[in-house]
């Protein structure tokens, strides 16, 4: 795809005050979602509250492990026109393109040169690592507020 945005566009977008209208309900693993569950939401700029930012979504997902295997950590991403411009993941060790190393939870930063390969350590680490926790952590990291909290959704407070 031809490059549609620059690093400055991305950094400006992250810094801008944004919000999501509602925290989506937390899905559960089941026969319809046996492998992966996702929560995602469109994002609005505070300066333009009536129209969602075109092509920008926040997604958090968790995978179900086969019986007897350890549960994988959830991850989240901020995608703009299909590109991961920010991401939160856990990895024992991540090798950056410039040779530096990051261990544990890390945040992906986007640039035209390295795309989403470059990461920095993500701190403070979340107290809990449920899908909802990682989603909320991402909102905080990327300057996204919640207009209405969906605390009454059963199973949300994981």
């Amino acid at each position: 795809m031809p490059q549609e945005f620059t690093k400055a566009d991305v950094d400006y977008l992250i810094a801008a005050s944004k919000f999501i209208r509602i925290v989506p309900p937390l899905p559960q693993f089941g026969s319809q979602r046996p492998t992966v569950i996702r929560i995602q939401s469109e994002i609005f700029k505070k300066s333009e509250p009536n129209n969602p930012i075109r092509g920008l979504i926040i997604i958090a997902k968790a995978r179900q492990a086969p019986t007897g295997l350890p549960k994988p950590n959830p991850s989240s991403a901020l995608e703009w026109n299909g590109k991961r411009i920010r991401g939160l993941n856990y990895e024992l060790r991540h090798d950056n393109p410039d040779g530096t190393i990051v261990k544990g939870w890390h945040e992906h930063l986007w640039s035209p040169e390295d795309q989403d390969s470059y990461v920095v350590s993500a701190r403070p680490k979340p107290q809990r690592c449920g899908l909802g926790d990682v989603f909320k952590w991402s909102l905080k990291k990327w300057n996204i507020k919640i207009l209405e909290k969906q605390e009454d959704v059963p199973g949300w407070e994981v």
Binding site: Q64, P70, A77, D95
Partner: protein
């Protein structure tokens, strides 16, 4: 010398490996092999009996393919499963699994790594090709812009059987219109045959009677045999290699798509 070289390599390799004990039955090992987003391949070894264990990847290999922008359709999963089965690796709930005995753990880890890397890298091939085609498309757009040809991007043309996505469409406006597509990808012969059929289907729709078809074939990564080019030429009005775009305005002018006549000087 062999011992020294091997010793140095193994010592460096050992330093690049990171391990974490999750509990008494699970150990995760991070290897210096990378998937999309520079993520390392991490294998978790889970003890299932005194002598047996199971290797898994926490669903990361397939997850990385998804994160790289490819949807894991049932068809893709089925193909990946067939690929994995060649090494005895199974795919369960998007996890790559390989059962092993502790006696053969070393060989099993090597086999697993190889398979994980192979599956995880599948996306690279397609991603590069897609980008390459779009690069060529922007060059074509530059040619159109410099010749002041008005076009619309990513349009659909009705065919008799189905709709066809077209990269650039110059609408008929006194002159014939032009549907231009960049043909880029692997297996050029099959691509050419596909476009033979597509062109045919587009032509069969009456509404496209006044639209010419131009195909630009990407020659940067793949060879186009004379037979492949013949398939394209048999149905398209204009075919050009990606490195011959300077001829494009002249070639489409011969099809009457643009008016090459010099503007008349107004009489005084």
């Amino acid at each position: 010398m062999t011992t020294s070289v091997l010793g140095t390599y193994l010592s460096a390799y050992r330093k690049l490996i990171v391990t974490e004990s999750l509990d008494e039955n699970n150990v995760t090992i991070s290897f210096p092999f990378h998937l999309a987003g520079s993520h390392r391949i991490e294998i978790t070894v889970t003890t299932i009996s005194k002598e047996r264990c199971i290797l898994s990847d926490a669903g990361r290999t397939l997850g990385e393919i998804e994160d790289a922008g490819h949807s894991l359709t049932p068809q893709i999963k089925e193909r990946l499963e067939k690929l994995a089965n060649l090494s005895g690796v199974r795919i369960v709930r998007d996890h790559l699994l390989l059962e092993s005995t502790y006696k053969h753990l070393g060989v099993s880890i090597q086999k697993y790594l190889e398979m994980s890397k192979m599956i995880g890298d599948v996306y690279l091939v397609h991603r590069q090709r897609a980008d390459a085609g779009d690069d060529l498309l922007s060059q074509v757009r530059n040619v159109f812009d410099s010749t002041r040809i008005l076009y619309r991007q990513r349009q659909k043309l009705h065919g008799q059987i189905e709709d066809h996505q077209i990269d650039l469409l110059v609408a008929p406006n006194g002159h014939p219109g032009l549907a231009l597509n960049v043909v880029s990808g692997q297996n050029t012969h099959a691509l050419a045959q596909i476009w033979y059929g597509k062109c045919d289907d587009i032509r069969r729709a009456e509404e496209n009677n006044n639209i010419k078809i131009a195909l630009i074939y990407d020659v940067r990564f793949d060879q186009w045999s004379s037979k492949s080019k013949a398939w394209l030429a048999a149905k398209a009005d204009v075919i050009l290699p990606g490195d011959g775009l300077n001829e494009l305005p002249e070639r489409i002018a011969t099809q009457g798509v643009i008016n090459t006549a010099k503007p008349r000087r107004p009489r005084v």
